[in-house]
Amino acid sequence: MTIVTGKAEARRKSQPGRSGALRNMWEHRADYAYVLPAIAVMLVVIAYPIYYTIELSFYKTPPGLQLRDKTFIGFDNYTTILTSEVFWKVTWNTLIWTFGSTFISFVLGFATALALHRDFVGRGILRAILIIPWVISAVAASYIWKWIYHSDFGIIGAVLVGLGLTDRPPNFIDNVSTVLPALIVVNIWREFPFAMIMMMAGLQTVPDQLLRAAKVDGANAWQRFWHVTFPHLRNVSVVTILLLAVANFNSFIIPWIMTAGGPSNASHIWITHIYELAFGRQRWGVASAYSVLLFLILMMLGYFYVRALSGNERKEGGA
């Protein structure tokens, strides 16, 4: 289907002149009616805010959103950001957070999908239980884990003391060096089920005949996985990893509720930092400049995302 679209477009492009394209649009005018409601809503709520954020990033803004009093200052907001120490600290945190969460969630999810691939008694129930963390609210998840990590009455601390590993229960989320890993554990808890579902779906597309043929030819389990299953899953993996990376890069609730960026910025990531700049310290201009930088980074990620998706399409169209 998609390959047909591609060809049709190529033919369209070869038509000379702009009137051809316009005529084409006119001929298809009825088709746009179906998309119109979606486009209209998105223009108001998406396109306008993006434009406004870019504009605001070049202004010095007074607090309290009295935006008539803003003054144009060119790229000053951007230089303020790039020369501040907090920026690099927060960027480093964001990198650890995004890569750590994405990589471990993907590996755990993939491994779980593989282990669940074979049928056994209770598989359906087990799968349902494993998906639940992904369904419940991140706010609830944050509170559950905050309670688990609690410095006085937390269950992890109690277990560690009970086993004689420490004298006092450790304080995971008030400690500069442990807070980020502790939050990543929470994030993975919520996210690995997503990777699991995606990879389970991917596994179903691996043809059984190929696996059986490989077995007949004497390939062991690892070889079958590495040479047959894994190549088949490359595209699903890329899409899953990109979706996870974007979601992690954009996550807000877990760090915000559990630590609000503390202690001393050790768990601030870009999003929480932007939020604090805008709504906490009311520095709208700087926060907007941050958003624009974020936007540029995400556009880059988006480029790979689209390329991975269209790679999928091309492959399937050809097959």
Binding site: M42, I46, L56, A128, I131, S137, A138, Q204, T205
Partner: protein
């Protein structure tokens, strides 16, 4: 002869052992993941049936000496102020999520159908624009949306949330539904049109019934997304009687920081509707994701 047979059978045994090794590794791994997933939820439940005193003891009571449902009674009792607030938050969440869900199905169905069936100029561009939207974080939109909502007088109303959730749920909803429409053979519609149906009639009478699973899945996604959303609700609403559950619970427990059983009971009850919805309609839910993302 016998030695050959012996080595052969030994080889077989070794092979079976190796296979068993992988299988055992898989089982142990699954057990580990089950504990990682379930233990926090179990601890939430156990804490929620403790008294405030029992929850704050060290070492903790693994099972409460005197289990009590007091926290749940307090939250669900319309007579006292805590219960009033909680029930109101619950109702607000239910209202916002339901309206969002209905609207997003109404808007997403025709759009997804168009993306699946028609090849109008700009179709691919529009589709990727829809997908790309999914990449941008809420924070980018917060300030301008806040100003926009203030300008059109929607701040502190549920309308602001519904409009926002609708927009941000749409890309995913369209994507999921498109996957379903792609799998419905065009020939069915063509047959109907040969029999004299208009395109719209064919859509309503042939395509809609066939895509019901997709619509259900999309509806669950919208509902869960709206139910769990936090950041816009946190920013747009300030009046106590309009808060949705995630924000309401956060507000409440930033004032009552030591009521851990109450907090866990509230977290549990906030999770119940979406988890039940998910467990009942799991089939559609998982299928939609795979139709949309994997097969694409």
């Amino acid at each position: 002869m016998s030695t050959i047979a012996e080595t052969a059978s030994r080889g077989q045994i070794r092979r079976r052992m190796r296979v068993d090794g992988w299988r055992w590794a898989g089982r142990i791994f699954l057990l580990f993941m089950l504990l990682y997933t379930a233990l926090p939820m179990i601890w939430m439940l156990i804490t929620s049936i403790k008294s405030g005193f029992a929850a704050t003891q060290f070492p903790p009571q693994w099972w409460p000496d005197e289990p009590t449902l007091a926290s749940y009674q307090k939250l669900l009792d319309p007579q006292n102020s805590v219960g009033q607030d909680f029930l109101r938050f619950f109702w607000n969440s239910l209202f916002v999520s339901t309206v969002t869900t209905i609207l997003s199905v109404i808007v997403a169905v025709p759009a997804a159908y168009a993306f699946s069936r028609f090849t109008f100029p700009g179709r691919n561009f529009l589709f990727f624009a829809v997908l790309l939207r999914n990449m941008f974080p809420a924070v980018i939109f917060l300030v301008p949306l806040f100003i926009l909502m203030r300008a059109i007088g929607l701040v502190n109303t549920h309308g602001s949330l519904i409009l926002t959730y609708l927009t941000f749920g749409l890309p995913l909803a369209i994507w999921l539904l498109k996957g379903f429409y792609d799998n419905i053979p065009v020939q069915l519609e063509q047959a109907a049109r040969i029999d004299g149906a208009t395109r719209f009639q064919a859509f309503i009478m042939i395509v809609m019934p066939l895509s019901t699973p997709g619509i259900i899945a999309t509806a669950i996604y919208s509902f869960i997304g709206a139910w769990n959303e936090y950041i816009y609700a946190y920013t747009f609403l300030s009046k106590n009687d309009q808060l949705t559950l995630p924000v309401g619970i956060q507000r409440f427990f930033s004032e009552n920081t030591t009521d851990f059983p109450g907090l866990m009971a509230a977290s549990f009850m906030m999770s119940v509707p979406v988890v039940v919805l998910f467990l009942v309609l799991q089939r559609y839910f998982v299928r939609a994701l795979t139709e949309g993302a994997v097969k694409h």
